[in-house]
Symmetry: C2
Subunit: 118 residues, 2 copies
């Protein structure tokens, strides 16, 4: 059915975007833009807790945004596709123009004094 393949494509797009739509997952992806990292290194880079990171990595890996590779005791994670970096860069461009609008958006709370590692 034609309609349901369009619907499925929308579901897949929404799911992919959802991968990016959380600050913790974005922190992880930003860290991985630089170089592949293991969980401990991601803890250092982001300040998030180990179990939180592990949960999010599971989600990102299942979504195809990251890939993992066991090296002895350590599991290394990397971006699964170079275009993920391109996507983040394009969003940065768009944001440079619409940032004021996004910042004004009250639909989703952006904490004023938001901090890291509370």
């Amino acid at each position: 059915m034609l309609m349901s393949s369009e619907k499925l494509e929308l579901e897949l797009k929404a799911k992919l975007f959802r991968g990016f739509s959380d600050t913790s997952r974005l922190s992880i992806l930003e860290a991985l833009r630089v170089q592949p990292l293991n969980v401990g290194e991601i803890v250092q880079a982001t300040g998030l807790s180990q179990s939180n990171i592990s949960n999010h990595l599971g989600c990102l890996r299942d979504c195809g945004l990251v890939m993992s590779e066991q090296q002895g005791r350590y599991t290394y994670y990397r971006l699964a596709d170079d275009r993920i970096d391109s996507l983040l860069r394009l969003v940065e461009e768009v944001l440079s123009d619409v940032a004021k609008g996004v910042y004004q958006c009250t639909r989703y709370e952006v904490p004023e004094g938001a901090n890291n590692d509370e």
Copy 2:
């Protein structure tokens, strides 16, 4: 403080991505890729309810993803930036390679028999 401007940038990115991370809002944005539309036309194109669309348009407008323009009785909506179209196209490219992975992702439910206009 340096740290908090990074944090703010992540919050803005997450918020922008959240604009895309819902199938209803994606339907609306897909419809607007073709041409500017008013609410009634978007109802026709997407099968969503008028109040639901109005809610989402408010969110998208506040986020800077769409712009509105009053023409008599009708309010016309359009994509606020051509790069939004580019963003959606890039995601389509990425999905063409990782779709299998995203489809397998069980973290977010993708309904099997998902349909539109129930």
